[in-house]
């Protein structure tokens, strides 16, 4: 199926860009008229995936991160986050809650958060080649509620 709308963006794996990435995705997802909670879910999941590229994929240097976001006719939002970093040796193990190679300040909860906040999470990774995380969320258009307005003309 062809997306109705999409965007692709590329940026450096600098931690300052974590807020940029979730802000840009939020601006894109707004067209699906998500609830405040749905929008927070999407932002949080994107923040986790982008942080993983910055912390784990490129631990020593600055690399490129690519994000795509696509909207499909049935209001499905599909986001991919791709790096060309170190890759993950055992994806199944990495997805376990509390598993981390990131030291004391990482909770090992990134994948658990993505899975909990999105409808579907796919991870493809190759050691030395990089990782692609696909985040899928099904949104339902809400009814627009009109606030009552009085005009004393």
């Amino acid at each position: 199926m062809k997306p109705v709308n999409y965007v692709k963006f590329t940026f450096l794996s600098r931690s300052i860009n974590e807020s940029f990435a979730r802000g840009a995705i939020a601006a894109f997802a707004a067209q699906l008229d998500p609830t405040v909670e749905q929008l927070a879910d999407i932002k949080t999941a994107v923040s986790e995936a982008v942080t993983n590229c910055i912390v784990h994929a490129y631990p020593a240097d600055v690399g490129q991160i690519q994000i795509t976001a696509a909207v499909y006719e049935n209001e499905r939002l599909v986001i991919t986050i791709t790096d060309k970093g170190v890759g993950i040796a055992d994806v199944e193990a990495a997805r376990q809650p509390m598993f981390t190679t990131g030291g004391a300040e990482r909770a090992g909860l990134g994948f658990a958060v993505m899975e909990s906040f999105m409808d579907n999470v796919k991870v493809r990774s190759k050691l030395g080649k990089g990782t692609r995380v696909t985040l899928i969320k099904q949104l339902h258009m809400r009814e627009h509620t009109s606030r009552p307005l009085f005009c004393a003309a």
Binding site: S15, I16, E18, S19, R22, A40, K43, T44, S47, E48, T51, I54, V55, A104, E105, R106, A107, L109, G110, A112, V113, S116
Partner: protein
């Protein structure tokens, strides 16, 4: 994006965190808190999350890291003012039973 204000009185310290907590800002918040913790002999740290508008799992790492540091220093960590989105993250992390939330006694909160 995030901000942290530190208030100290004797061996009690309060850290008011506000804004968006992610891996980037958590590093800054951690440094500010730890510098203040180590500069003075603190045995109670209260972290106030009242002004937090966004928090990903980096915030869990931030809390757990301060929890461990305080334990090592023989002190305690108390959490207060967590908005619903932060509570949701803490529940998902399963740390609501480990971490002490705002106590009943007035002297341990800000």
């Amino acid at each position: 994006m995030a901000d942290v204000k530190i208030e100290r009185k004797d061996s009690v310290m309060c850290a008011y965190v506000s804004g968006e907590i992610d891996h980037h800002s958590a590093a800054e918040i951690r440094e500010t808190i730890d510098r203040a913790l180590i500069a003075k002999d603190i045995n109670l740290l209260t972290m106030d999350f009242g002004g937090v508008t966004f928090m990903d799992s980096s915030g869990v790492g931030l809390i757990l890291g301060r929890y461990k540091l305080l334990s090592a220093l023989g002190g305690r960590l108390v959490i207060q003012g967590t908005p619903p989105s932060v509570n949701r993250m803490l529940k998902l992390a399963g740390i609501t039973k480990i971490i002490e939330f705002k106590g009943e006694t007035a002297d341990e909160t800000c």
